[in-house]
């Protein structure tokens, strides 16, 4: 427990310190929301009562979670590059506890970002939710974040070179975001896109959040939840296994 708390505390301390990074990490999703929302929103509405900006709102929260969780997990790669990982690995503590602490720390900071976004959407009347809806959306946010942190730790543990980060950015993070139904509705997709989108776990996370936020959603919420739980379990196991195999 002490180990988990120590690793968690490190993430929180770094997060609190770096206001610039916080703002920077919020800027891209905000840009997507405003630019795409206003741009496409001018000639496209999801339904007469749901503007395009309101439609992509939960998708942008998902984007923020995906990016911050993946970046946070990939920090393992930087810790290796800067040698701090040696300090962690030579300590008399279990690696499982290290992964758990790192994950919880990153999930915490990602959820703070996501919640700030959510509050902004609420303030802008783009989403509506009550306390139950908020708790539901938190569950989905947690699952999205924890899953992608696990996935990122699995990747980062396998890599030795920080240049691999670019690879993950282009071949994992971006495709997962763009093929998730964050920016487009899931009904009436062409076959190939439908396959890719339906195989993407983030699709179910965003769909679950849309349900929790009282918006238009595609799948039954229990299906969303089940898919995410399975994905979370798989990525957590993958992350823990890869991290244990890693050498400093």
């Amino acid at each position: 427990m002490a180990t988990i708390y120590t690793l968690w505390l490190r993430e929180i301390r770094r997060f609190k310190r770096n206001k610039g990074r916080l703002i920077g990490s919020m800027a891209l999703p905000a840009l997507f929301l405003v630019a795409l929302g206003s741009g496409f929103g001018a000639f496209f509405r999801y339904r007469s009562d749901v503007s395009y900006t309101a439609f992509i709102g939960p998708g942008i929260v998902g984007m923020s979670l995906l990016f911050s969780s993946m970046f946070g997990g990939m920090n393992v790669l930087w810790d290796k590059q800067f040698g701090f990982m040696k300090e962690i690995l030579v300590a008399p503590v279990s690696r499982i506890a290290i992964v758990a602490g790192k994950t919880l720390g990153t999930v915490t900071t990602s959820l703070i970002r996501g919640t700030v976004f959510l509050a902004a959407l609420y303030a802008g009347r783009l989403v509506e939710f009550d306390i139950i809806g908020f708790l539901e959306v938190l569950v989905f946010m947690f699952l999205i974040s924890a899953s992608f942190v696990g996935l990122a730790i699995a990747f980062a543990s396998r890599m030795s070179d920080p240049h691999g980060f670019q690879l993950i950015m282009n071949f994992v993070i971006m495709p997962v975001f763009f093929l998730s139904g964050s920016l487009f509705p899931l009904d009436g997709l062409p076959g190939w896109l439908k396959v890719l989108t339906f195989l993407n776990p983030l699709t179910y996370g965003v769909d679950g959040m849309r349900f929790a936020l009282g918006g238009p959603h595609h799948f039954p919420p229990l299906l969303d939840l089940s898919v995410l739980l399975i994905f979370w379990a798989l990525t957590t196991i993958a992350g823990a296994l890869m991290f244990q195999k890693m050498s400093a």
Partner: protein
């Protein structure tokens, strides 16, 4: 090869038996046998690539050995990893601090990982910060520290859990001479304060000579010599006195060659190199002889043997200094840091 220290049967804190490491087809460590006494400041001296860091990494349980075994404080490095890790502190060759935390936060992180309670965390932080003179910079971010300060902070961190054995892997690599001196003083102070066993690797001969009570010279993954610095140097037979005379007087040379103190004479052009037990007392004798033969000595110099000479004698070549690449590596690493 079996090298065993003669003294200290009772208090051996590190015992290495037949320890070897292969990286693919490359043998980084040949089967090493080594015993290190408690309280020693033990130096592993050798060129880069000699296997010093490999040996330390294996002892610190971050690299598994290919064969053989080793114990630290009686704990086996393969089977009792947590116990070994609790009994050692280590300062790695490459930086291993979190730049985005303060000095105090780096220490706090370490203390928590090693399970210290709040009171011990606070009191030991004071203790180790005072030891390395970083009290006034504790709340600054590590990224604002100089190279020497980082090293000192890493040393302080390695001490927080009061290890029995402290490993220092090239503690002064890439530091300026003044900072090196300071680090040396810190190493000696903390050894005296805690009475711990310190194992340090270095490829600086003067560093090993100045600090260590025992030295193992490593080359190509093997220990080629092991003794106290003085004993190693005395293998060379003493000081070398150089006399410059012209012209070279044969009688004078013969007289010196026959002198009791002289063990070896060699002549290069008009310079005489004489190996003697004690150079300081031999020089006046040489001048007396010169006066007797009417020889004018136009120049004199003397060299105390150093570990470099020992290394050359044992391996037949100079220690290769390939360390130049390392500071560059570090600069690269630090500049990456800004992009994080």
């Amino acid at each position: 090869m079996l090298i065993r220290r003669r003294a200290g049967i009772a208090s051996e804190i590190i015992v290495v038996k037949g320890l070897g490491k292969n990286f693919g087809s490359l043998t980084a460590l040949h089967d090493l046998d080594l015993a290190i006494k408690e309280g020693e400041l033990f130096g592993l001296l050798g060129p880069n690539g000699a296997g010093k860091t490999t040996l330390i990494s294996i002892l610190a349980t971050i690299l598994p050995p290919t064969r053989g075994s080793a114990t630290i404080c009686g704990h086996d490095i393969r089977h009792n990893q947590h116990e070994v890790r609790r009994s050692i502190g280590i300062v790695f060759q490459d930086p291993s601090l979190d730049d985005e935390l303060t000095g105090a936060e780096n220490l706090d992180f370490h203390a928590r990982l090693y399970g210290l309670d709040t009171r011990a965390r606070l009191s030991r932080m004071e203790e180790v910060l005072a030891l390395v003179d970083l009290e006034d910079r504790r709340n600054d971010l590590v990224k604002t520290y100089s190279g020497g300060m980082r090293r000192r902070l890493e040393m302080a961190r390695g001490l927080m859990h009061h290890p029995h054995v402290l490993f220092l892997d090239e503690p002064t690599l890439g530091l300026d001479p003044q900072t090196r001196r300071k680090i040396w003083n810190h190493i000696l102070t903390l050894k005296d304060t805690f009475g711990m066993t310190v194992i340090l690797t270095t490829h600086y001969m003067d560093e090993a000579d100045h600090l260590c009570s025992a030295i193992a010279i490593m080359d190509h993954g093997q220990i080629v010599a092991l003794d106290t610095p003085d004993a190693l140097k005395s293998q060379l037979g003493g000081d070398v006195v150089y006399l410059e005379t012209s012209p070279l007087d044969k009688e004078f040379v013969k007289d010196l060659r026959d002198a009791q103190e002289v063990t070896n004479v060699s002549i290069h052009d008009n310079i005489l190199a004489l190996t003697v037990a004690k150079g300081e007392s031999f020089i006046p004798i040489a001048f007396d002889a010169a006066a007797r033969f009417g020889v004018t000595i136009s120049g004199v110099s003397m060299r105390k043997p150093n570990l470099e000479d020992v290394f050359i004698k044992i391996t037949g070549r100079e220690i290769r200094d390939e360390a130049v690449s390392t500071p560059k590596e570090r600069i690269r690493v630090y500049s990456w840091g800004k992009r994080r």
